[in-house]
């Protein structure tokens, strides 16, 4: 065990820091889920990242990435959050579809999709859920029927992140008459294809965060199917692993938030009417963020040493979602009567981030599902 960075890692950090300091605008971009303009501004940022070769840092070089190992990735993320760089509109591509394509795609599919994903030319939405298939993905009802060399897609997807403004989407479709985990295929479709209707859904913070997608006889080439016909569930489980797992949740974001909280506490703690007992919560928030970071470093080291990611995906999900809520509740308690106010431009938006944090225990596999997974796969308790 050696908890110091190598000189190479330190040099890498310096390089990231320098590039970000030169390129991150002091004026925050409008949120990519808020308006078309915000979305396109973030696409431009993806292109800027790509121009500095900072776009898909964990992807292999052959696919347009930088081929970083996980410790470098963590350093990159730390600097990225430290610099308050824009959110990644391309997240579904970087962390979900990209790795899945690399694992399951044909050479032609990789050539067609990965470079445009890496360049920001095509931004991807996910289309996992359906009205009757949320945590229970095997309940998918949307269908795909092969006619010649085209699939005809029909169905209704919902809670699709980025779908309001993105270019492409991927989702599960089943052969008519198939049941549950069988007969499903993972298929890509352009969001502007004939027969596709996208209705944005507002989140409780008022942003357009998701969309529902209606597909009516949408025709896509059979080329757009990833893996074999009927292999969709298998691929999807691998992808859900990516989604639940390490990649999506950099510890840096919580460490930034914990530091902001400590700053808020320092600024307010001596004001009249502030509850001194909140000091314990400020310390707790710092501890939680540190625990999460140390755990991710440990996992990264294990993966580099050849281990496979296992149920950490589920324990991580529970831990970061709960720490995020606790951290933001502490901030609101410090703010007191100001907590309910939407933030002034430029200020840290505690209330909006709190509302966002409340989604943590719900999406990417609810915490109830995650606890089932931990109990059954990690502890070995019986399913039924």
């Amino acid at each position: 065990m050696d908890l110091t960075y190598t000189p190479e890692q330190q040099a890498f950090r310096a390089e990231v820091r320098e590039w970000l300091e030169a390129h991150v605008s002091a004026v925050p971009l409008e949120h990519f889920d808020a308006t078309r303009e915000g979305f396109e501004a973030h696409r431009e940022w993806e292109k800027a990242l790509k121009s500095g070769d900072w776009g898909m840092v964990t992807w292999p070089k052959e696919y347009g990435g930088r081929g970083l190992d996980l410790i470098q990735w963590l350093i990159f993320e730390e600097e990225y959050y430290r610099a308050r760089a824009p959110g990644r509109v391309n997240q579904n591509g970087i962390f979900l579809l990209g790795p899945t394509l690399m694992e399951f795609g044909t050479h032609e599919q990789k050539s067609r999709f990965l470079p445009r994903m890496a360049s920001g030319e095509e931004i991807w939405a996910q289309a996992w859920s359906e009205p009757m298939a949320g945590s229970d993905l095997a309940g998918v009802r949307a269908t795909a029927v092969l006619e010649g060399d085209e699939y005809v897609l029909n169905g209704h997807k919902i809670w699709s992140s980025r779908a309001a403004f993105a270019d492409m989407a991927f989702g599960l479709f089943r052969a008519p008459g198939s049941e549950r985990h069988h007969g499903m295929s993972l298929i890509f479709f352009p969001l502007d294809a004939a027969g596709v209707t996208v209705n944005p859904i507002r989140k409780i913070n008022g942003h357009v965060g998701f969309a529902e997608i209606f597909l009516e006889n949408v025709r896509v080439p059979a080329f757009n199917r990833l893996g074999d016909e009927g292999q969709g569930w298998h691929i999807c489980m691998a992808t859900a692993g990516f989604e639940r797992g390490l990649m999506l949740r950099s510890p840096a974001r919580y460490q930034v938030a914990a530091a902001e909280l400590a700053k808020l506490w320092q600024a307010r703690k001596d004001e009249p009417g502030i509850d001194p007992a909140l000091e314990a919560d400020v310390v707790r928030a710092f501890m939680n963020a540190e625990s999460y970071a140390l755990s991710i470093y440990q996992t990264a080291s294990r993966l580099i040493a050849g281990a496979k990611i296992g149920p950490e995906a589920s324990t991580n999900k529970i831990f970061w979602s709960e720490l995020d809520i606790h951290l933001h509740r502490t901030a609101l308690a410090i703010l007191g009567p100001e907590a309910e106010l939407l933030s002034e431009p430029g200020a840290h938006d505690w209330i909006d981030d709190y509302i966002f944090a409340l989604a943590g225990p719900i999406y990417a596999g609810s915490n109830e599902i995650q606890r089932n997974i931990i109990a059954e796969r990690m502890l070995g308790l019986p399913r039924k």
């Binding site: 859904i201 409780i204 609101l332 100001e338 309910e340 719900i362």
Partner: protein, 343 residues
């Protein structure tokens, strides 16, 4: 010793629940959110017609001369329906203060009049835009100003139905009301916030129960899963043990002693905690649905959040309970004891 509501009170509560249920449907909420209208004129007219704004006014001011317990039941129903209109702050808090300070105010003769109130406990004034007049605060003294004689600057709340304002005004354009009972006003503000909290909490649970009975996952309603059951059962337990505190606080508020203040504070803390707990459990049970604007659970979450820090923060109220612990006898025979008896 009788800890039950009388028939009249139960009928009263029933009337309020029915009126708000009929006039605050999800459709009403959405239309009002889209329009940004401060009041739903039709609903407000019906509210005025029931006499709710007169409940706490003395009979010789044309009021019903009822007490805080009666109004708390209305406030609870308002919470249950996330009532957007400023009934509680106007009729429950501002009007009784005005009636005490200026019994001959002509505003008291207009049951439709809305009075907003600036209180030292709150940094902003709620619903000032809809008010006919505002009770204002300066150096411990109260003033009354017409809406058109003050300048309002909107502060956006996370709660789409809370319209908060900073009020700029001049003493010259306001009518002095003298030294009013700001403390009693705070008691009422906290009590009725607590009562609303009970309603918010119960509605959040009820919405989740309805959803969980209906929504299928893995081939059965999600309400059959123990995790869902236990989330909602815990939320309901919090409500069950907040409600008696709110009712006792309402019944005792007039004593104005250390115990009654501690009980109001206790009610405020636990009722809003129950509301927050229930709203979060409800969002969790609703899953992604609970996180979308079109499903109305978020209204209850946000109202709970706003009321938690209005009329005294949880810390402020905790300190008042601590004061009761430190200065009054404790023990099982002290539940209904009064300061006067031990002073």
């Amino acid at each position: 010793m009788d800890f039950t509501l009388n028939d009249e009170q139960q009928m009263f509560a029933q009337t309020a629940r029915q009126l708000f249920a009929d006039t605050c449907t999800p459709d009403h909420w959405r239309r009002q959110m889209e329009s940004g209208a401060v009041l739903d004129a039709e609903r407000w007219a019906q509210i005025v017609e029931t006499g709710f704004p007169l409940v706490l006014l003395p009979e010789d001011a044309g009021g019903l001369g009822l007490g805080e317990l009666d109004f708390a039941l209305i406030a609870e129903a308002a919470g249950y329906n996330a009532l957007p209109d400023p009934l509680v702050e106007s009729a429950g808090i501002a009007l009784p203060l005005l009636a005490a300070a200026k019994p001959d105010s002509e505003l008291l003769c207009d049951p439709a009049a809305i009075i907003a109130i600036e209180h030292p406990a709150n940094p902003y004034v709620a619903d000032a835009e809809a008010a006919t007049a505002l009770v204002l605060h300066k150096d411990g003294q109260a003033y009354l100003a017409a809406r058109e004689d003050v300048t309002l600057t909107r502060k956006e709340s996370i709660d789409p139905f809370r319209r908060l304002y900073r009020v700029d005004w001049e003493v010259a354009k306001a009518q002095p009301l003298g030294a009013v009972d700001w403390d009693l006003t705070l008691e009422r503000g906290a009590l009725f916030a607590a009562a609303q909290g009970l309603g918010l909490a119960q509605r959040a649970v009820d919405l989740a129960v309805d959803y969980a009975k209906d929504r299928q996952q893995f081939g059965k309603p999600i309400g059959t899963y123990q995790a869902v059951k236990h989330h909602l059962a815990s939320a309901q337990v919090a409500i069950e043990f907040a409600r008696p505190v709110v009712l006792a606080a309402a019944a005792d508020i007039a004593h104005g002693d250390v115990q009654s203040r501690a009980r109001v504070s206790h009610a405020k803390i636990v009722a809003l905690e129950a509301a927050d707990h229930a709203a979060r459990a409800s969002i969790q049970v609703h899953g992604a649905m609970g996180y979308s604007w079109e499903v109305d659970v978020h209204l209850f979450l946000k109202r709970a959040l706003a009321l938690t820090n209005s009329w005294g923060t949880p810390y402020f109220h905790r300190q008042r309970i601590l004061h009761r612990i430190e200065t009054q006898p404790l023990g099982p025979d002290q539940t209904f004891a009064r300061e006067a008896e031990h002073a």
